[in-house]
Symmetry: C2
Subunit: 383 residues, 2 copies
Amino acid sequence: MKNFIFHNPTKYIFGKDTIKKIGGEIASFGSKKVLLVAGGGSIKKNGVYDTVIDSLKKHGIQWVELWGVRPNPVLSKVKEGIEIAKEENADGVLAVGGGSVIDTAKAIANGVFVDDVWKLFLRKNPLKPTKALPIYVVLTLSATGSEMNGTAVITNEEEKVKWSYRSLTNYPKVSIVDPTVQFSLPQRQTANGGSDSLSHIIESYITGKPTDTTVYFDEGLMRSIIDNIDRLMTDPSDYEARASFAWAATLAFNGLSLTGLGGDWAAHAIEHAISALHPDVAHGTGLAVIQPAVIMYRKKFNPDITERWAMQVWNASSTEEGVEKMREKFVSWGLPVALKALGVTPDEWEEIAVKAIEFRPKNAWGDFSKDDVFEILKLADIE
Amino acid sequence: MKNFIFHNPTKYIFGKDTIKKIGGEIASFGSKKVLLVAGGGSIKKNGVYDTVIDSLKKHGIQWVELWGVRPNPVLSKVKEGIEIAKEENADGVLAVGGGSVIDTAKAIANGVFVDDVWKLFLRKNPLKPTKALPIYVVLTLSATGSEMNGTAVITNEEEKVKWSYRSLTNYPKVSIVDPTVQFSLPQRQTANGGSDSLSHIIESYITGKPTDTTVYFDEGLMRSIIDNIDRLMTDPSDYEARASFAWAATLAFNGLSLTGLGGDWAAHAIEHAISALHPDVAHGTGLAVIQPAVIMYRKKFNPDITERWAMQVWNASSTEEGVEKMREKFVSWGLPVALKALGVTPDEWEEIAVKAIEFRPKNAWGDFSKDDVFEILKLADIE
């Protein structure tokens, strides 16, 4: 096990009928006027918006609104939010939505205190944030874990790069997760959430040793995600499955699943490069294609752990069989597993490799090279 | 899954050579003079004390010392600490030791602000703490999880009761865990830590549903504890095993292992009653006797989960076989599994039942009754 620091101060409120607590929580942390950040309007259809607004009113919290955050959230929307937050003197940012909305809210909350928010995301000599507006979250889509971590991922449309940064200032003060509001999600989004959260665990898991405590509980988390997504594919309104998946998706990326391990992040680096070129590729969909190929590729770096993964998570007797079962599972969830299905053409491989390495120049195995990316893309280039 | 709130703000610093960071961490949280709480002096033999003092000096932190905290820590020592903290104007409490030392430090940190510290522990109408001195921890014995939770357990010697309370004010600001300092522990203490941490998980696990994410996660933790304690029984200086067990013991009782589940706590209630009567019985040793009996007893309340536990944790085909394997494991670690071995005589059962119910009048199954305690004691009364 490597040395680590685990420090996650987010207050996480989970369960049925909990969204109405948001106003009281915001008041208890001292905010009086929040910038409410949201996506395309689904929260108006499923009643979440009304519940949030009622709670804000009840506790005397004022608000202004920023709508239109989309999957693979963009820098221009962040800048728009920063301007509104400054003009309106917001003293908090409230994200009501999924990972894209939360990440936008994080960037806004930090961005109001710096001259150029993109400097926080730079791969070389980034600006270190020292303060941010308090961030509050009502989660409507479990996938990225952003509701309980310090990471924000934003796409710079002009430069066509999708970069992230981590900071203690990015942790939400409070996150409220009511799994019932996810009953109405399209099945494809649930499947993407399953793929994304599995990948968050695997990226670190495959660098571990078979004796690591983190490896043991990561296996429990992976099993739970697989079993509970299976249940949701049959019945999207199964509360127990929805709740178990929601909590697992948070745990998959709140820092726990990687304690004492290293990080590969090859799959995320390559997926970020692909979806920067193909903005319509959802993050979880891209990962469903790339992550199995990465596991296959990493077998030669850490066979003890890939074999253990195959056995413990898939009841398979080899890494190859485990990867095969993972792909069969993704297909049963309606996800693609072949690179072609993402619309990636061979002439893009070079640019993908360059962008992926820019995103993640080093990892647990040392330098992350163009050769690595090409080998992984080859393993994902199946029929 | 039940609704839950998870909020654990402790900064947890883990790994080799980390104790020297304590002075800098205390300074960063603003304390200038701490009450250093410690046990019988083992930290002077293994070098931990010197490392801590060097670090305090380096960062200009003053300190006063309270020595002599013993297993099953007592109220009189807490009161002694409160007096010293007040007289010396300490603005923080630094625990250097195991669970008993940390729990004493927590009670002191809260106790300086109330007229009678025992009122915090009362089972009926306890006083609610609203503030405490900041608590800092250097852990030297992994078992209770107190380094990253809000619980303190103290024995009132006069009233012969061992009671606990939970509060957000009890969470340490910082806990430092360097597994190497545990190489020199007596094997019996390592075994007790294994038993204690398994019990922390099982108390909630056995109330769960087989689909719960926490159930999956808990199974990973239990497996890791069993495998890594096995390794430590062979080689007490195996760093990887020591580190994996230390982190698992923290996770077993930092709130995660019970998210969304209920609580039985029959084993802890009975063990607390026993060790209040027999102060020489270590907590983990008492639990090694009582916990298997509780699992056997709870089979009729929740057979799906006890059968799942037997299969997933012990590769056993029935609850009975799982319990049998658990007892064999404890015996292989040098722990007793028969009630007689604790020195408990049949004429004490009545008093144990009364005290256990006083400690835990209700639990996940409803009222916790004298009949329950007698049934459990019967199942623990083996040869």
